[in-house]
Symmetry: C2
């Protein structure tokens, strides 16, 4: 994007229009752009670099758990898709259907679809059906188990309303698919992978999450149960950051995924699937950013540090940049962080503004005089704090500051969530919370009946985000109907 | 795959049936499997790990050239696809067309496509049209140039005849797309990227290649010219390992990719595109492997070293493995290679056979007595050589051997190509070569007329693989028609 255009871009404040603010941040930070294809976005280099970092870290975490990557076909024959009843019902209403395999010129000299296929193909909305067809072929004996495979791919769901990263017709994700000999192993895998996601999202993305189980209304179409992590955005709404599904034998039976056990008895496998998508980039934006633009946690920022050398004239520039490069390379060697040296012929103020909007966690300002005085100015993106630091020990100070920014971002988000989480026992108070512009999480007893759940949804648009995990059972009463309830659940408006 | 099944798998010798041998190697090394979706394969973990290594190395090479990654939509509206005449002609006959966006139950209770779209979408066979639509939006001024973006994605071409890795309906690739202010810059980019590919394929994959330019018959649909690297397989056929296209202004004009130059004049950009696909894995298999199975070059092997500890009884096993792990970790620390310790309760012979077929470059055999004698046995996969080595200095010896294997594989492939490359000036002799089961490359003068090119194709099925690059002009006569010719070209049968 050309400079002239950039300078005109203004960010709508959150208080004025939160949705517009979100789009503006994406725009000024050059993370994504609308494409001419309905509901599909283009992930621009700045946005894709975040996804590459997510892939790198999460993939290493997967591999340390013994996960192997593979690649399965984009297309799913319609007949496979139909085999699991709940699953097809969940996805049939919004899928891209390939019906022809060429184009030909018609008599008006226009290209039209030609070569009708015998069986339509569905562009994968998720890959259980095609993957388990292969597992049925690969698995024969208990010796072949467990199978623990993941793929990083694109998927398509024909959504009606779309928003960049949060909900797009096509999106990128990883989907892990496992097959086990016992229910216990599959349960453990479901929970283990949820913990991998929690660890990743909290530690690298600095986003505090709530672990829980989805209600039957909200679970994955075809799962026995869906475990999830939910995060609160700055408008109090909830974003599902990742899910891990216990599929039981719901897919192994229709897809015939069987093995012979140690006693020679044929059994169906127990399966799980789990995924995280580019949607998580929407969460990073919405949890940390402010009215000045994007804020990125240092551990996931493609460039955690930008150095802005400040020269008075062209004569000074060359020598200064040479010195700055020496300093920067030493830092890189010692602490390993990527940095970017901004050598553009622009005013320093323009550069500060530019990097602020793009969310670089730490800015280093160095002028000729600073070098003479053996110091530099560090500026934190998250709170704007300016710190004068001696060049000696700069590397240590930078590392320390980046660690502090990372944990401060997490703590700030956690405080925000705590402030907007309400433990309530009165349905009137709950309705009051959800009628506000800034709402949040309501933590209340629920009887387990989907009638009560639906009533809340109709009257407030909020839904149960999850049934709390690791929560002790208590003696409570459903906030809606007053019947007996043992556990509190999290109600919230969902992205 | 269960053990019982594995042991039964036999590899057809190359001399008996080269095509069958290729499929058998893929099968025993567990690289890929046929899927139930027509022409689509499943890339299994062993095959995908090779692709991950290719991505890692090549992506770093790209990034050091200033390339940035991004992601563009999978779907291309039909109208975009139609904008460049040659391009649409090249791809319209074999593309997957999405016409509907949901499924519904018909009156026979069967799911049928529903929700007809206003405009059909093409699943990308390549992304020039969608990417350049975005470039037209992003580029305004000379300050925005060059744009140098790459994406790692899946693409679909509805091929009639398919073979795993070599030609599949869906495949994975990277496609780079650049826009420049001048023709010169675009020419340079085309050639620079070809050189990146040559370097990667020769240095990492140990495959010698020939650099050249495609004839008009063989160039990319829409390119001004296509530069390529071609490699000879063990049956003498040629495989196009990568291409780099100079697009000139062929796409910038219909897609309106314009910029204002330093003088305020509006101009069309000059563009290039370049790609390498999972097809290259087919080349790795076909160039290096033998009748015993897969052979992988150490620099691209997911696991370059396997350690097989040899124990006499279970009592011995535990202590031995502990010692082997200490040795292995020391080696890893010093030379950085990945290794795998085979702790399975199987006979050593079974393990040797298993890893041989899977192409692990170096096997280390260590028994209790070897440890007492402070030595180990190293076995090269490429030539079967067994080398007794003292444990002291083992790391150095391993590194040395892996380097030797890498260069030996390259040299062996180069010798093979030289042996089967024939500089000919008689069309009769050329026809004779191409009538043999083992053929090769024929290097001959060609006048530049596609009539002569087509005649060869009809009479021998061989085509011009490329016009040699960096070749001095000479005074020659076309091997077909006898007219004046300045340059030799490479004829060969193509994969």
């Amino acid at each position: 994007m050309s400079k002239d255009k950039e300078e005109k871009q203004i960010i709508t404040p959150r208080s004025q229009d939160y949705s517009k603010w979100y789009l503006d941040v994406i725009d000024v930070a050059e993370l994504a752009d609308n494409s001419p294809v309905r509901g599909c976005m283009v992930i621009k280099p700045n946005g894709y670099a975040i996804w590459e970092n997510i892939q790198k870290v999460l993939d290493n975490m997967f591999k340390s758990k013994g996960v192997k990557n593979a690649y399965f076909p984009l297309f799913i024959p319609k007949s496979f898709f139909e085999k699991e009843a709940e699953h097809v019902e969940g996805f049939a209403k919004e899928c891209a259907v390939v019906t022809h395999h060429r184009l030909k010129l018609n008599d008006k000299n226009k290209l039209v679809p030609d070569g009708l296929m015998d069986e339509s193909l569905i562009v994968r909305p998720t890959s259980e059906t095609i993957i388990y067809t292969m597992y049925a072929k690969w698995i024969q004996s208990f010796r072949d188990l467990p199978v623990v495979i993941n793929q990083w791919v694109n998927v398509v769901r024909w959504e009606l309303r779309t928003r960049p990263f949060l909900r797009t017709t096509e999106f990128l994700w990883q989907e892990g698919h496992t097959a086990h000999a016992t229910k216990q192993e599959a349960d453990n895998m479901t929970i283990d992978m949820l913990e991998v996601y929690r660890n990743f999202v909290e530690d690298y993305l600095a986003i505090p999450v709530i672990k829980g189980i989805k209600t039957d209304n909200e679970k994955f179409a075809g799962a026995v149960y869906t475990a999830c992590i939910e995060a609160m955005m700055q408008d109090g709404k909830s974003l599902q950051a990742a899910t891990s599904h216990m599929l039981g034998q719901n897919f192994s039976k229709p897809f015939n995924v069987k093995f012979t056990d140690q006693n020679g008895v044929e059994q169906y496998t127990w399966q799980t699937s789990w995924g995280m998508s580019t949607r998580i980039i929407g969460a990073i934006i919405m949890v940390h950013s402010d009215d000045k633009g994007l804020v990125l946690p240092p551990k996931i920022a493609p460039i955690p540090i930008v150095i802005v050398p400040i020269w008075n004239n062209n004569k000074e520039k060359e020598g200064l940049i040479k010195k700055v490069k020496i300093i920067a390379n030493k830092i890189k060697e010692k602490i390993g962080y990527n940095f970017y040296i901004d050598e553009r012929d622009e005013r320093p103020g323009f550069k500060f503004y530019d990097w602020e909007r793009k969310g670089i966690p730490l800015r280093i300002e160095i002028g000729q005089r600073d070098i003479a005085n053996k110091k530099a100015i560090l500026v934190r993106r998250d709170n704007g704090e300016k710190i004068e630091v001696p060049l000696i020990g700069l590397d240590k100070k930078i590392k320390e500051l980046l660690d502090t920014i990372q944990s401060d971002l997490y703590n700030k988000a956690l405080k925000f969530r705590e402030k907007f989480t309400f433990e309530l026992d009165s349905y009137g108070e709950m309705k009051n919370i959800f009628s506000k512009k800034e709402n949040g999480f309501v933590c209340s007893f629920w009887c387990g009946d989907s009638k009560c759940e639906n009533k809340v949804k109709e009257e407030t648009t909020a839904t149960i985000r999850c049934i709390l995990f690791d929560e002790e059972e208590k003696n409570g009463k459903c906030i809606i109907c007053g019947k007996k309830s043992l556990k509190r659940v999290i109600f919230g408006k969902a992205y």
